[in-house]
C-alpha cells in the first residue's frame, strides 16, 4: 500500500480516527507521517490532514479547467493551498467539495446563526431544505418527471434568494 500523501513510499503508518461515528482513515509513509506531526500525541487532527488530501482528490476527479468566474481560482490552486480563493468559489467548487465536507463535519448544511440581512430568506431556506429532500426521494423512487419539476423549483428559489441578498447588499 502506498502513502496517501507522497504516493511513492510504502505506507507504514495507518491512522483511523472515529469522529462522531464516522470513520476517517489515512495511510502514510514514515517521513510524511513525521512531517504532518502524526507522532505527537496531542496537536494532530486527521480532519486537517484530510483537507489537504481531499484537495488533491477533488482536483483529480473534476475537470482541471474549472475556474472561479469572480477571482480566477482553479482546482489546481485548491490542491496547492487547501484554501479557496473567494466566497464565489464556494459555488463553483461546491460539488467537488461535497464529500470532503461530509467527512469533515457533522452535517452537510448550516443550521447556526444567520445574518440579519439574510433572516428574511430563512423561510426560503427551510422550504429549500424540504425541496431537496423531496428531490432525493423522487430520484430514489425513479420518478424522474417529478424530480425535474422539483429541481426547477429549487433553481427558481435560488435565483430569488440571490436577488434578495443582492438587494440587501450594502455599499462599501
Amino acid at each position: 500500500m502506498l502513502c496517501d500523501i507522497c504516493k511513492k513510499a510504502e505506507a507504514t503508518v495507518h491512522l483511523t480516527q472515529i469522529v462522531d461515528g464516522k470513520m476517517l482513515k489515512v495511510d502514510l509513509c514514515e517521513s510524511c507521517a513525521k512531517e504532518k506531526g502524526v507522532q505527537e500525541a496531542a496537536g494532530f487532527s486527521l480532519a486537517n490532514l484530510l483537507v489537504e488530501l481531499g484537495a488533491g482528490e477533488a482536483s483529480r476527479v473534476e475537470a482541471p479547467g474549472v475556474q472561479c468566474p469572480l477571482c480566477g481560482f482553479t482546482q489546481a490552486d485548491f490542491k496547492k493551498t487547501g484554501r479557496l480563493g473567494c466566497s464565489a468559489c464556494w459555488e463553483t467548487f461546491e460539488p467537488a467539495l461535497a464529500s470532503l465536507l461530509k467527512a469533515m463535519h457533522k452535517g452537510d448544511h448550516h443550521v447556526g446563526k444567520v445574518p440579519a440581512k439574510a433572516v428574511h430568506t430563512l423561510a426560503l431556506n427551510g422550504r429549500m431544505q424540504e425541496l431537496a429532500e423531496q428531490l432525493e426521494k423522487a430520484v430514489r423512487e425513479e420518478k424522474y418527471e417529478d424530480a425535474a419539476q422539483i429541481r426547477d423549483q429549487i433553481r427558481e428559489m435560488e435565483a430569488k434568494w440571490k436577488k434578495t441578498v443582492g438587494a440587501a447588499r450594502t455599499t462599501e
Binding site: A42, G43, C86, S87, G112, T170
Partner: protein, 369 residues
C-alpha cells in the same frame, strides 16, 4: 491607545478569577467572517488586501466594545510586539507574520481582539479567565451582529458563513478552553484523554495552537466541526467535555496523592527549588516547572495568593515578554539569565512548600500500614 499602554498590564484573562480557573486557565471563542465577493486574504493581491483593510479596520475600531482600544496595521507593529501579542493569545502565529494589508484591533482589557486579513477577512475572538464559554460566545456574537450592520458578510443559506478553509465553513466558530493538566500528565493518563476527546469530535492541541507542544502541561481543547450544528450546541458540548476533563484531572490528582504522595511533593519541591535558585532558565523549562508550582498552589502547599504570581509568570517568562522587559536586544543566553532573575525575584514572595496541613505529609489519606 498605544501598544505600550495596552501591554503595560497583563491581560485580564490571566487573572485566574473565572469559574473553574484552577484547571481551566482561559476560554476563548473566535468567529471567522469574510466580505462577499472579495478574494480571501491568501488569494488577494496586495492592493485588494489593503483596500479591504481600509474598509474593515475603521468599522472594527468604531465598535462600542472598542471604545478604548489599540489598533494598527501589522506593518507598523515591531516584531517583538507582534510576538508579545502571540504569547498573550491575542493574535495567531500566522498573523504575526503579516505586514502591509493586514491589521489588528484589541480592546483595552484584551478581552476582544479582531484580526483583519488573517486567513479570513475577519477573525474576531473573545477570551476570558476560567471556564465561561457561553458568556464569551455571547460577547463575540454581539460584536459579530454589530459588524454585520456595516459589512456585507459572505453567507450562503446552505453552507452558512463562507470561509477560506473548508474546516471553518458554516458557523466559522472555534471555541476552545486552555486546560492545565499536570495530574493527568504525571499519571500517564493524558494520551487516553486526548484520544477520548478526539473521538467526540473535539481537537486537543498544545499551548500555542495547532502543531505546538503541550508545554507546561497546558492543553487546548476545541471543536473541530463547524457545519451542521448550532453555535450554542457546540459551545454546550465543549463545555460539558471540559467539565468532564476537569473532573478527571481532579481525580488524577487525588489518586496520585494517595498512591505516590512523595513523588508529587518531590516534583513540586524540586520545581520550587530550581526556580528560586536558578540563574539561567529556558522558557520551556520555566513553563514545565511553573506548572508544578501552580499545581502546588491548587494542593494548598503554597498560599492562594501565589496563584496570581505564578499565572503571570506563565506569560511573562515567554521569550518576547522577557525581551520586551529588557528594552534591548538580547541573545538567547542573556534571555535565559534575565528570565531566571525575573522568576527568582517573583517567587521570593512565595513561602517554601508547606506540607504541615497535610497530616504526616503523605497526602493526608492514610494508606493501610
Amino acid at each position: 491607545m498605544k501598544i505600550d499602554d495596552l501591554l503595560k498590564s497583563p491581560s485580564e484573562w490571566v487573572k485566574a478569577d473565572g469559574p473553574n480557573s484552577k484547571i481551566v486557565m482561559s476560554s476563548r471563542v473566535r468567529l471567522a467572517r469574510n466580505i462577499r465577493d472579495h478574494p480571501f486574504p491568501g488569494w488577494a493581491k496586495k492592493v485588494e488586501r489593503q483596500k479591504l483593510l481600509d474598509v474593515i479596520q475603521p468599522v472594527v475600531e468604531a465598535l462600542p466594545e472598542m471604545a478604548d482600544h489599540f489598533g494598527d496595521s501589522m506593518d507598523n507593529i515591531s516584531a517583538i510586539h507582534k510576538q508579545v501579542l502571540v504569547e498573550r493569545h491575542l493574535i495567531s502565529r500566522e498573523h504575526a507574520a503579516k505586514n502591509v494589508g493586514s491589521g489588528v484591533v484589541i480592546s483595552d482589557r484584551e478581552t476582544i481582539s479582531v484580526m483583519v486579513n488573517e486567513e479570513d477577512h475577519l477573525r474576531m475572538q473573545a477570551i476570558k479567565s476560567g471556564l465561561q464559554l457561553k458568556t464569551i460566545f455571547k460577547i463575540i456574537d454581539r460584536v459579530d451582529t454589530e459588524l454585520e450592520e456595516h459589512l456585507d458578510f459572505a453567507f450562503s443559506p446552505k453552507l452558512g458563513y463562507l470561509t477560506a478553509c473548508p474546516t471553518n465553513v458554516g458557523t466559522g466558530m472555534r471555541g476552545s478552553a486552555m486546560l492545565h493538566l499536570p495530574g493527568m500528565v504525571l499519571s500517564d493518563q493524558i494520551n487516553q484523554v486526548v484520544q477520548a476527546v478526539n473521538k467526540l469530535g473535539l481537537a486537543v492541541r498544545g499551548l500555542y495552537g495547532e502543531g505546538t507542544e503541550a508545554l507546561g502541561n497546558v492543553f487546548q481543547v476545541s471543536n473541530q466541526t463547524t457545519l451542521g450544528e448550532k453555535e450554542m450546541e457546540v459551545v454546550e458540548r465543549l463545555n460539558k467535555v471540559v467539565l468532564q476533563i476537569v473532573e478527571h484531572e481532579e481525580n488524577a490528582r487525588i489518586t496520585l496523592l494517595e498512591k505516590k504522595p512523595k513523588l508529587v511533593y518531590d516534583q513540586i519541591g524540586r520545581a520550587y527549588g530550581i526556580l528560586t535558585n536558578a540563574h539561567t532558565v529556558s522558557s520551556k523549562e520555566a513553563l514545565n516547572l511553573l506548572s508544578l508550582v501552580r499545581m502546588g498552589v491548587d494542593l494548598e502547599i503554597f498560599p492562594a495568593m501565589a496563584r496570581a504570581t505564578v499565572d503571570e509568570m506563565f506569560i511573562l517568562s515567554q521569550p518576547a515578554h522577557v525581551q520586551r522587559a529588557a528594552a534591548r536586544k538580547l541573545t538567547a543566553e542573556e534571555r535565559d539569565i534575565l528570565r531566571a532573575e525575573l522568576i527568582r525575584t517573583q517567587l521570593a514572595t512565595i513561602p517554601k512548600p508547606d506540607l504541615s496541613h497535610r497530616p504526616r505529609g503523605d497526602g493526608g489519606r492514610a494508606e493501610p500500614e
